[in-house]
Structure formats: C-alpha cells, structure tokens
C-alpha cells in the first residue's frame, strides 16, 4: 500500500500576461500514495485548481517534475497527455460538465469512446457505473432532468468508468446544497474504502473532513501536509 502514485517535485506555474507575470504555484512538492484520500484546501485564488489541473494532465507546469505511476509526465506531448487523461485520471468538476444533449448513460460512457471500447461493452459498463452511484433508473435522463446532486453522481460515474489510477475532484460540492453535498462525499468515501485514490480540492472544512489527509496551500506555497 505504500506505492507512490503521484510525485510532484518543485512544481511552478507562471502565467505571462504581456509584461507582468503571475507566479501562481511557487514550488510545490507533493507525494500521494495509492489508496490515499487527500483534500487540498486553501483560500480562493491560492492555486488549488491550477495544481489539480496539472495533476490531471489538463495543464502543464512551467517548471518542475511530475511523475505519475512511475512515469515522467512533464515531457509528454498533447497526444500522450490525452491518453493519460483517458486511462489514468477520473476528473470531477464543480460544474459537473456533462454534455447537455446526451442521456446520463451516454455521458458516463464518454471516456470509453476515446479508449476504443465497442458500443455494447460501453453501455454495459456505463450501466454498472450508474448502478454504483445509485442512478440506474435515471440512465435515460438528460442532465437537465436531473438534480444537481444527481448530475454530480453521473459525473462521478463517468470518472470511474475507466478504472483510473486517481480520481480528482475540484470543489465537487461547490454547486450543491449541503445534503446532496454530503451524499456525494459519502460516495467518495466508499470509493476510497474500495481502494480508490482520491484528491479533492475544497475550501469547506466540512468536506475536507472526509479525507484522511489535508494539504493546505496559500499563495502558491504548500503550508501544511505536503510531503
């Protein structure tokens, strides 16, 4: 259980805006082990999302090294990053990011389309994932016909479908009332119990409590919990 899944070494992110440049991440070192449930906390604008996007291979650091499951990610090209996102990362967003015209199960199977799984298997797996988040009977519903909590559970099902190495969630309860927020967190908790590695960004203490380890970031520097 001591296997390192994520290892960040001195990660820096600098945005260049014309003459000024903003250093959002000022050298982050972070290691996450398999099966861990980590919450990243910090005030708004501290660089939490930026960090999570880098971990999720949606973005690249300006400097530093990122090793995912023993593989150096920093030098990969766009194509390889897309493949990593597809197979190793399950992303859950604050605003759900579901495709509005598609029924729940179609949204859930989306990553598998890019993995190259055939239609039958895709649907079977999508249904299994929906069952896991308790939404099997909602499979044919479109996002607009679902509550916020339900939409987020569909998004979680989508994140799970490729059995990723790590699940990343950026303020997953941010758009939810506290009751559905807790429902969603319970799902994360039970997934973690089953062995899933989860990294969660939040600024709510209540939510962070579900995690076993809390990392605090302030002004792009790790204040606490980074090792």
């Amino acid at each position: 259980m001591d296997e390192e899944i994520i290892k960040l070494v001195n990660i820096r992110k600098i945005y260049f805006l014309g003459k000024v440049s903003i250093e959002v991440l000022k050298g982050i070192d972070l290691t996450v082990k398999k099966g861990e449930f980590v919450a990243i906390m910090g005030p708004s604008g501290s660089g939490k999302s930026t960090l999570l996007n880098i971990i999720g291979c949606l973005d690249r650091p300006t400097e530093g090294r990122y090793i995912l499951e023993g593989v150096e990610v920093t030098e990969r090209d766009d194509r390889e990053l897309a493949e990593i996102r597809n197979r190793k990362i399950g992303f859950v967003f604050q605003s759900f990011n579901l495709l509005p015209r598609m029924p729940a199960w179609k949204n859930v199977e989306l990553p598998l389309i890019y993995t190259g799984v055939n239609a039958r298997e895709r649907k079977d797996l999508a249904m299994k994932m929906l069952e896991k988040v308790g939404l099997l009977e909602r499979a044919e519903h479109r996002p607009s016909e679902l509550s916020g909590g339900e939409q987020q559970r569909v998004a979680i099902a989508r994140a799970l479908i490729n059995t990723p190495s790590v699940i990343l969630a950026d303020e997953p309860t941010g758009n939810l009332d506290s009751r559905s927020g807790h429902e969603v967190m319970e799902i994360f908790k039970s997934l973690n119990k089953e062995g899933a590695t989860i990294i969660l960004v939040t600024h709510e203490r209540d939510v962070a409590k579900y995690a076993e380890r809390v990392v605090t970031i302030k002004d792009g520097i790790c204040q606490d919990g980074c090792f």
Binding site: N53, R79, F91, N97, P111, Y114, T115, A119
Partner: protein, 401 residues
Amino acid sequence: MDVFETILISFDALKTNKMRSALTMLGIIIGVSAVILLVSIGEGARQYIKREFGSLGTNILIVVPGKTAKEGGMHMGTSAVRKLVYDDALLIKRRSAHIKYAVPVIVGTSWVKYRGQSRDTYIVGVTEEYFPARNLRVELGRSLNTDDVQMRRRVCILGRTVKRDLFGDRNPLGAFIKIGDGRYRVIGIMKKKGVTLGYDLDDVVFIPTTAASELFDTDALFNITVKARSAEVVEEAKRDIKNILRKRHAGREDFTVLSQDEMLDVMGKVLSIMTAVLAGIAAISLVVGGIGIMNIMLVSVRERTKEIGIRKAVGAKNRDILFQFLTESTILSLTGGGIGVTAGVTIAMLIPRFISFLPVEVAWWSVIVAFVFSGMVGIFFGVYPARKAALYDPIVALRYE
C-alpha cells in the same frame, strides 16, 4: 475512435439545429443541382445536334463556291470566285469511284400559289439523287426521276407545311401550282420532317434543279451535295472532288468541301466548351456553399467550445476532435450533395415534359463529379473550423460558458 460513433454524434449535432443545417445545405444543393442541370442541358444539345445531323444523311460532303477561312491554306489571289455549275456535279460523280451521289443544288425563295392561297417558301432545285442522299421520303405520289431533271419538267414535290397552306385537306396530286411565273404540276408530297435546329424542314418545295435554273435565271449552284459510298472513303471522296474541281477551275481551289462530320465536330466542341464554362460557373456556387459550411462550422465550434473541453478532459485527442468536426461538415455537404443530385436529375428529367424544345440528357459523369466535388468542398471548408476546434486548450475550453 469509433467511426460509427463519430457519425452518430455528427448527425445528433446537425439534428439539434435542423433549420440551420438545412439552410447551410441549401447552398450545396443549389450548386450541385445547377451543375447537373447545366451539364445535362449542354449534353442534351450536343446529342440533339448529332441526331438531327444524322437524320440529314450520313457521309455527306458539301461543296460550296468560295474559299472559307476554316479550310486553311493560302488565299489564291483576289480574282472573282468561279461559280459551281451543273456540269461540275456531273463530273464529280463520273470521275470518282468513291462517290455515290453528287447533287447540284439551287436554292431560292419564291411565292407559290394555288387558287386563292399563297405562301412565300424555299424552292430547292435538286436531282432525284437528293432524296436518298438526304434521307428524305416522299409519302404520297412519286419522287423526281432522271427524265424530270434532264427534260426540265415543271414538276414539284411539296413539303408538308406548303401542302397544308395551299391545299388544306384536299389531294394536291396532279394539281398545278404557280411558282414565280411558271405552272408546276404537283407529283408528290414529302413525309413530315418537323423542325430541326430552328428550321421548318417542311416549308419547302422541291423541283428539278434544271427547272430551278430557269426559274431563278442562273446556272450558279447553291452547293453540290455529295454522298460518299461509305464512312471509310469520305476522305478519299473529298480529295477526288478537290482534284476534279481544281482542274476545271484552272488550278485554283476557289471552292470549299465541308464534311458533315467536321461541322458536327466543330459544333460539338463549341458546345462542350460552353457546357464546361456553364458548369464552372455553377461550380462557383458550390464553392459559395462551401463558404457557408465553413461559416456555420465556425459558429458550431464556438457554441460547442465547452463540449470540446469536456471531451478533451476525458481523453479525446486533437485528432478525435478534428475528425469529429470534419465528419460533421462532410456529412453536411454530402447530404446537400445527395439532395442536390436528386433534385438536379429529377428536374433534368422533367424538363422535356414541360419544355419540349429543350433537349436534356442527364450526363451521369456530371452527377458523380458534382457529388464528389460537394464532398471535397465539405472537407476543404471544414478543415479550418475543425483544426480550430482541435487545437483548443482544454482548460480554456472548459471554462467557456
């Protein structure tokens, strides 16, 4: 990635904006059907002319006085052109083994009268050989014979239009009509020929060429209509005619021998060029349609920025996104192309029912070319928007509202 899935997604996207997709396709539909229609009309005209010429007899050579530029060669001095006469025709026939018929033709116009009725019409002086050479049939009565020609008999054969105007439903055989100052006996009625290339072939009266010479007081021929024995010897026949006439005309080639195939070729070429130009103009509307597709695809890419972000976040490669939008624009243009083909072919086939004088022949090669071209237009004008979509930064795209 799954091709079938890609196509499904494309159809789904196009269905979401039915009206917009339809209007975008309209440009391609109009372009494709215009290309097919214009080419079909051009092709129809070409075949029509070919057919009509064929019905005027095959392996025909026409000798006319004077040198036309088309024949090429040097211009032989400036002296007056020598006319062609009756004996020229006789000699051509007698001296060349390759010639089946040689008819001295005199043409003029004159009033023809019968009782109170009259008509201004073409009087064509010919010999008995003219009718088989030109595929002309006498329906009622008899044709000309050698005696009629040699003895300058004042006999005539009426075209349908003239017969109708002068005699109505009555039987004209044996009746005497007035042509100019002479009285001519009607010996035959031509079979109906109809209108060809704008001429009413039934508005004509045939008389012996010798009688016509008297009537118009000239021995100058309008032309000598020659029929070669077969298609293979047309060129030899032409050479013979030139040799024979040159000798008679003091070594000068002050006449022109036109073969019907040459005239047909020239006309066919002109028509082909015209068709190509028209099809080219129609193809421009296809390009305009393509720009319409590009425009709508750019809008679509912008509207679906978030979708692109989501797809990329879950693992879509640039290539997948590119292919996705390219498929969409191609489906748009191919569907438009398909509808355009159907519309174009249908209209082309319906035209003859409503406009009888417009010959139309659907050229199937134009159908294929237009369809393939429409597909290429979709790909070509889809590349830019699709590339734009493919190169979106996933984070920027995800943040887009």
